[in-house]
Symmetry: C2
């Protein structure tokens, strides 16, 4: 399936009659950045459509499956766009176990153009395969809407980072909530869900709004787990070594800690948060442990689960079971 998508994108280049070097570059760039992730977002389109069809007493047709897979790859293209650009902005070292694309020999800041090419590719695919689909325009608008929201999330994330000097006052619950919902929830949860809904015929605004509201909550819960696991997860299980403390990230742990610290503990965070060496990192973790953030996280986890379950139970514009399945997929995950 990826092979087809890849061929079609390269075909778009061939059709423009450009020098051979362009097609070669595009092939290399797509192969390096689009497959190779966990593909959870792309797979969610297919799985959510299956759940929706089941609620309708139907099974997924071959056409359904093919379209859901294509849209799943479009979500992966969007993700690739965000990741390539994010790694440039964060000056990151590795991604998915390989050097970041901009660190590959001969690439450098060409990655900035490549990132936006990956975004434009989404609309080439939509045009090729969905031009006659009744939701074609809605699909385009959906990608643009989700892209804008994610860019706003990225903007807030970048603005929350200390510019030279650490400013703990910026780490408010309000900013944290906004970053998480905008930077992660919309493209990771709402987008795959809304795409599947368009394929299954749930296209009215009320249904999409209900889905968006539930997905915001699921996405927030997911990111809070991510932040928790960054510090307390098992490295072998999650497959990476957390560096949120070193990177001075506006994460759930530090934001929650700041709501409960004594003046002395706050002083420790002020001195040690965002420093690279092990002594400072240990000092921050010590404060987290003193405040028993693990207990607070588990309490939050239970509270989230019942709150989201409650929200889902009130949905009447679309079937509830697919949303329940989505929540169940991440509840109490350890990786």
């Amino acid at each position: 399936q990826f092979a087809t998508l890849r061929q079609e994108l390269l075909r778009e280049v061939t059709d423009l009659k450009l020098p051979k070097l362009v097609e070669e570059y595009m092939a290399k760039m797509i192969d390096y950045n689009v497959p190779g992730g966990k593909l959870t977002r792309g797979v969610t389109v297919v799985k959510f459509l299956e759940a929706l069809r089941q609620s309708q007493g139907k099974t997924v047709s071959e056409e359904d499956l093919a379209q859901a897979q294509l849209l799943g790859w479009c979500v992966e293209l969007l993700q690739a766009f965000f990741l390539v650009a994010d790694d440039v902005m964060d000056d990151s070292i590795t991604r998915r176990g390989h050097p970041c694309w901009f660190r590959v020999d001969g690439i450098g800041l060409k990655a900035v153009n490549d990132a936006s090419i990956l975004y434009t590719c989404i609309f080439l695919i939509l045009r090729k395969h969905f031009r006659k689909h009744p939701s074609y325009l809605s699909l385009i608008e959906l990608f643009n809407e989700v892209c804008f929201k994610t860019q706003m999330g990225q903007l807030m994330d970048l603005e929350s980072l200390p510019d030279g000097k650490l400013d703990l006052d910026r780490f408010t619950n309000e900013l944290y909530h906004s970053i998480v919902v905008f930077k992660t929830a919309f493209y990771s949860f709402y987008l795959p869900v809304a795409l599947a809904m368009h394929l299954a015929g749930y296209t009215d605004q009320a249904a999409l709004k209900d889905a968006s509201s539930v997905c915001e909550q699921i996405g927030e819960y997911f990111q809070i787990q991510d932040d928790y696991l960054d510090c307390y997860g098992d490295e072998a299980t999650i497959g990476k070594i957390g560096t949120d403390i070193e990177d001075a990230k506006c994460g759930w742990l530090v934001v929650t800690a700041l709501q409960h610290v004594s003046p002395a503990q706050r002083q420790v965070l002020q001195v040690s948060y965002g420093k690279k060496d092990a002594v400072h990192v240990a000092a921050v973790k010590q404060v987290y442990n003193e405040l028993d953030l693990t207990a607070k996280f588990h309490a939050f986890e239970e509270e989230s689960f019942s709150r989201i379950t409650g929200s889902i139970s009130k949905v009447s514009t679309m079937p509830q079971t697919p949303l329940t399945w989505l929540l169940g997929k991440i509840y109490k995950r350890d990786k």
Copy 2:
């Protein structure tokens, strides 16, 4: 008119109920990057629509004017997206007489996210003002198509630059032609023309294809003038100091020179092209003078004018006079 557009974009942010810092950042980012250029591309939408309406025996209505101005600003947003990203990739110093956006204090590589935000803003404006327009979908597709072509041009431009070592073999006519048409002609000429055509009701594929073909030629001619003026133009008139030789650009002068050089002259170019110091730059200019590139340029200019005039005279799918006006606007320009 810009004030309205600016307000509407900030309104999109307010509607998302984001922290105040986002709106402030967006205002600053838009004000720095969107107005302040020569606005020729944006103005072309309005002027071309006027010329089309005149050919129809009509005048431009107020609604016409308002829509053309809005689409003109969308072209300027697209341009801002390209320029902000291009300056990052080229590590440039100034733009429009000010430091490049990424060099502004506190911005840095956040400019990568900002560039793509400017692109997404186009679709927010289209959605707000053209949702009911019969060409709404075509306008979206047009921006996506032109964006993709420009990105391909940028890709070729970046690939033509020597990666450490100068490779004159890359400076072929074919690559030069592709870079120029894709990187400049589509968004600078075809896009404003096609937007005006949509407003005037010239929406069939044959008309757009004819316009595209003429605009490709006009855009190529325009860029060749730009390359010529970079070396031979009057600095006071063109308002900047050319650095194409120093930057090892794949420009019309070097490409043309390479087609006429003796082995000894080629050796001079091999040694001196792309070097920053005045002695090497003078050596390159000396070769250009020996080959009398000025005469070759003027001959090319005459040949282009009559070739493009010939192409325009064969167009039957839309009025010819607006295209003739567009060509006349740049013929023998000295700035």
